[in-house]
């Protein structure tokens, strides 16, 4: 100890003496810091990797689709002010047949220039080579699809292209910044087995889809400082005559929007969850320090009598808080790295970004450390100042005994059936309201945090149920290339294995209300639609009204409209009609920001003969295979998705992460409860050790003394848990609101079982912590009690 001041030596001894409590606080600090380091670190890794990927492989700024535009339309796009680069291409959905895969799979084929590489949204080629211009059947496939289906260069895949079955040869495996998150039709999570991205030479695609000298997709980059919306508006004007469906920027690009949404979630997590931990740790530090100062009251008096200043004493006790927090910060940073590594690996499975690897983020470390130390100092300050303020003469006297009063509590305590130990417990609870409040807060915070995190699994269940069962009663969804005559639906219904079919028409539109404007897809559904249903907020089925438009609550909120008000719909179709539509209903949809209209009303608005862009099918479960075989070969069909395959993939993907995340949440929630209970019990034991030992001498058993020691905490836990449940539902609302994006809205669904699991975790971890303290009851010194004055 050479070189340490006597006060610092005392500090180290104090910490060693209170190591159990210091460790408990350290664990809570560590959890808070770990989550902050993990979330901020992953956020910055994800952002840095994505931005580097976008820049290096020239991810476009604006995207647009058209039905068919001549190549010279691109010249007019280049003339728009601020446009730097324009690249046209052909993008199509195709149905695949893969050996060993039973369900119909889909791929999005993207054209490459006939020579060399793309200018925008360039490929990262992991293996193989680019297709030869003269070999029309050569393709590059996306890395995730190759991995999921165990495909390599040289392997063949059958694809139905414009009604013709073609055998394509894989010559390369690559990725592009456009498909970091690759979603197939009708799915929410990537299913790499059933959906892939293919790249093919332009000439081969032009030939396959009769698009000679034409394109159906275009990407642009704009000069820095250019107003993207102006470019979008001008591009829409250029492309409108060719069936333009409205240009959009990166924020509406599906893959980019999902990455953004994930980053938003990480940011929310970094803000909300560590706050709960750090508030609890600050409260614990406050109570530990208060107790320590009471114990050391006479020493403080002595030290002050020696001439130590108030500032030195304040600093001495602040150092105590800083020291135990620093331990937690270091452990938290280390744990944060481990978690960040784990999460980054999970992300690397979902988000296809090359070089998405774990790296140290200095900002996350600094932010975590500053937040933890700051909250510790706030927690310690009033106790430390209280110590510094003690007058030496007063402090050297023993503290006056705690003065209990009968007060209003007498009416409860006079109840005859109360035994004395219970009466003692109740009186203690009410005698120290601040301490009771702090412990109550700690227990409630643990439950709150558990529910606030665990509810996401209920929410996912609810979203799945809504998406796959309540609203979608169909077994298969079919997408057509171009809106064909609605006889196509009748033809589909006659295919083997199909029991019924309903058409749907999706048209892109810009909905405008006042100064608010949103680009959406409006779905036209038949009057008596059974296979695609819509639900009101209270879970009732809503029939599509024959006039007007039905908006999802999310979209209604974004446009700030309610039922009865009017929105202006700019349909982004060839004819570009504009109509004022009354909002006839607002419905509940978790996924996307959909809008619905009656199909006939939509056709009338578009002033076109009845057409559809897709169909929902009910299949005969015993004859599904016949349907799968026959639908593939029908011309005009771009994609088929089976609900069974989609739900299975959804569940499989979730199962992988669900247990890891549940485990992490349970441990961190349990850590708070254990820390709070352990500290409270230790403080109680220190304060009342003499009293409890006296009771042991008087013949009370260890269990009876344990009851007096822990009964108070048991009551606090029993009150804290329901309070925590209320808090947890509140936190679930807060998190759901903070994490809601245009892509999906997390429903606030908290199952009773989740409340039960949270309560159980807290009870279990509290009990384990309490047992650690109860062990000490057995080692109470009964003899010392007889001899010492308090």
């Amino acid at each position: 100890m050479k070189g340490l001041s006597p006060l610092d030596t005392k500090l180290l001894r104090d910490i060693w003496h209170m190591r159990g409590q210091a460790i408990a606080v350290g664990i809570i600090v560590a959890c808070g810091v770990a989550i902050m380091v993990m979330a901020l670190g992953t956020l910055s890794t994800l952002r840095a990797s994505r931005d580097a990927y976008y820049e290096r492989y020239r991810f476009a700024d604006v995207f647009a689709s058209v039905r068919r535009a001549p190549e010279n339309a691109a010249l007019r796009l280049r003339e728009i002010d601020g446009v730097q680069t324009v690249e046209t291409r052909i993008v199509r959905l195709v149905i695949l047949r893969i050996e060993g895969v039973e369900e119909p799979a889909n791929a999005q084929i993207v054209s490459l220039p006939d020579e060399g590489e793309s200018i925008l949204n360039r490929l990262v080629l992991f293996h193989g080579r680019y297709p030869e211009a003269r070999s029309p059947d050569e393709i590059i496939i996306s890395n995730a699809f190759a991995e999921a289906n165990d495909l390599n260069t040289g392997d063949a895949i059958e694809a139905v292209m414009n009604g013709r079955l073609r055998s394509l040869t894989v010559v390369g495996i690559g990725d592009s910044p456009e498909f970091i998150y690759a979603l197939g039709p009708g799915t929410l999570l990537p299913d790499d087995r059933l959906f892939g991205i293919f790249w093919m030479r332009r000439r081969a695609l032009e030939a396959a889809f009769d698009l000679d000298g034409a394109f159906n997709s275009v990407s642009l980059t704009v000069a820095p400082g250019t107003d993207t919306q102006t470019v979008i508006d001008q591009a829409d004007d250029v492309l409108a005559p060719y069936g333009g469906t409205g240009a959009f920027d990166r924020s509406d690009q599906l893959s980019n929007a999902f990455v953004d949404s994930e980053m938003n979630q990480l940011k929310t997590m970094a803000q909300i969850i560590p706050t709960v931990f750090l508030v609890v740790s600050a409260i614990l530090i406050h109570s530990i320090l208060n107790r320590l100062i009471q114990t050391e009251r006479q020493q403080i008096g002595l030290i002050k009598a020696f001439g130590y200043s108030r500032r030195e004493i304040t600093w001495h006790y602040l150092k105590f808080a800083i020291a135990i927090t620093t331990g937690g910060v270091l452990a938290g940073c280390a744990l944060g790295f481990v978690l960040q590594n784990l999460i980054t690996h999970l992300y690397a499975e979902t988000f296809r970004i090359p070089d998405l690897t774990w790296r140290v983020d200095a900002f996350a470390l600094v932010a975590g450390s500053v937040a933890a130390l700051g909250s510790a100092i706030v927690g310690a300050m009033s106790a430390a100042l209280g110590a510094a303020k003690l007058s030496p003469a007063e402090a050297m006297q023993p503290a006056p005994p705690v003065n209990y009063h009968q007060g209003w509590l007498r009416y409860i305590l006079q109840m005859r059936w109360l035994d004395e130990p219970t009466r003692l417990i109740l009186r203690h609870i009410f005698r120290f309201p601040a301490r009771t409040g702090a412990n109550l807060f700690g227990i409630a915070a643990a439950v709150t945090l558990l529910i606030g995190t665990l509810f996401s699994f209920d929410a996912i269940d609810d979203m799945m149920d809504q998406m796959f069962f309540r609203t979608n009663a169909h077994d298969a969804a079919v997408t057509f290339f171009e809106a064909p005559n609605d006889t196509a639906v009748a033809e589909l219904s006659r295919l083997p294995g199909v029991m019924s079919a309903e058409g749907v028409r999706d048209v892109p539109a810009r909905l405008v209300s006042g100064y608010r404007s949103e680009r959406v897809s409006i779905s036209g559904l038949p009057e008596d639609a059974q296979l695609r249903r819509i639900l009101s907020a209270d879970g009732r089925y809503v029939d599509i009204p024959s006039t007007g438009i039905v908006l999802s609550s999310q979209l209604a909120g974004m446009l700030d409209v309610t039922t009865g008000e009017t929105v202006t719909a700019h349909i982004l179709d060839a004819t570009r009609p504009v109509a004022d539509l009354p909002v006839t209903a607002i419905i509940d949809e978790s996924v996307g920001t959909p809008a619905f209209m009656d199909l006939e009303a939509m056709n009338a608005l578009l002033d076109q003969p009845p057409t559809v862009s897709g169909a929902y099918l009910k299949l005969d479960p015993h004859n599904q295979k016949a349907f799968e075989n026959s639908v593939i070969e029908r011309p005009g069909i771009a994609g088929v998705s089976l609900r069974a395959a989609a739900t299975a993939s959804f569940e499989e993907t979730l199962q992988e992460t669900i247990y890891i995340m549940m485990g992490i949440y349970a441990v961190i929630g349990g850590a708070i409860a254990a820390g709070v209970v352990y500290n409270a019990a230790r403080i109680s034991l220190t304060e009342r050790g003499r009293e409890l030992a006296s009771l042991r001498v008087l013949g009370f058993t260890n269990n009876e003394v344990g009851y007096i020691l822990l009964g108070e905490l048991a009551i606090i836990a029993l009150i804290g848990i329901p309070l925590g449940c209320i808090g947890g539902i509140g936190l679930a609302h807060l998190i759901a609101t903070a994490m809601a994006t245009e892509l999906y809205r997390i429903p606030v669904t908290v199952n009773p079982s989740t409340l039960g699991i949270a309560a159980l975790i807290v009870l279990l971890s509290s009990t384990i912590a309490a047992l650690f303290v109860v062990r000490r009851v057995r080692s109470l010194d009964l003899i010392a009690v007889l001899k010492t004055r308090e």
Partner: protein
């Protein structure tokens, strides 16, 4: 003190409630072993009030701890009503303390969060045939103060609550460790009066440890300890009232 006569007790005497033979207790502190008790023989008869005198370090508290079931002898035997306590488990010792023993401590050791009556009830609730808490408090002259918390009572009053708490379960034997050690003479005498009354009216066997020689005059028998052994046993000719003793 009055005239002293030496005597010895027979082990077979049915009047004997608690009997220790050859009690040894050693403590090892660091590398030094200290023999706190050196083969003590002691017996307490039913209804007897015995005062154990001795200076600090004479071993009287160690002896009380062993007799009260708070500690175990390293050698020797201890019997309570003919039952062996020498090798009793923790649970058995707890049961012994719970059923048969009462304690009065030097520093009262009351539970701060309970009133006088509740402090007494705390013990009567776990006893088999206790007296009513108010009755016990009445016996020590605190019938009026039952609703007061320890912090609202004087030292003497707190000690009398402790006596009431100790006797309320009607223990067969009451151990008092320096019961007046923290009190002035006037208050101390009031506490002794309470103890004397309990001994006379309830016939509770009582062992009072003190270094105050005058207190020996209220006893049936006085034992004097020195260096871990009982070196003298005297029987006062007449038991004095607490008010008659010289403090």
């Amino acid at each position: 003190m009055s005239t002293a006569t030496k005597s010895s007790q027979s082990a077979a005497d049915p009047d004997i409630l608690l009997e220790g033979k050859g009690l040894e207790r050693s403590f090892v502190t660091g590398e030094v072993a200290v023999r706190a008790l050196r083969g003590v023989d002691i017996s307490l008869k039913r209804g007897e009030l015995v005062v154990l005198l001795g200076h600090s370090g004479s071993g009287k508290s160690t002896l009380l701890n062993i007799l009260g079931g708070l500690d175990r002898a390293t050698d020797g035997t201890l019997q309570f009503e003919g039952q062996d306590l020498t090798h009793a488990s923790d649970a058995e010792l707890t049961r012994y303390r719970r059923r048969s023993v009462g304690f009065v401590f030097q520093f009262y050791n009351l539970v701060a969060g309970l009133t006088a009556r509740e402090n007494v009830s705390l013990v009567t609730e776990i006893a088999n045939h206790p007296m009513k808490p108010d009755e016990a408090l009445e016996l020590v002259g605190l019938g009026e103060r039952v609703k007061h918390f320890p912090a609202q009572l004087s030292g003497g009053e707190q000690q009398r609550v402790a006596v009431a708490r100790a006797i309320a379960k009607r223990p067969q034997i009451l151990f008092c460790d320096e019961p007046t050690g923290a009190l002035d003479s006037q208050t101390g005498i009031r506490v002794l009066e309470a103890l004397d009354r309990v001994n006379r009216e309830l016939s509770t066997t009582m062992l009072i440890i003190t270094h105050n020689v005058g207190i020996g005059d209220i006893a049936d028998r006085v034992l004097r300890m020195q260096d871990g052994a009982i070196i003298e046993e005297t029987r006062p000719n007449r038991r004095l009232k607490p008010t008659e003793i010289s403090w």
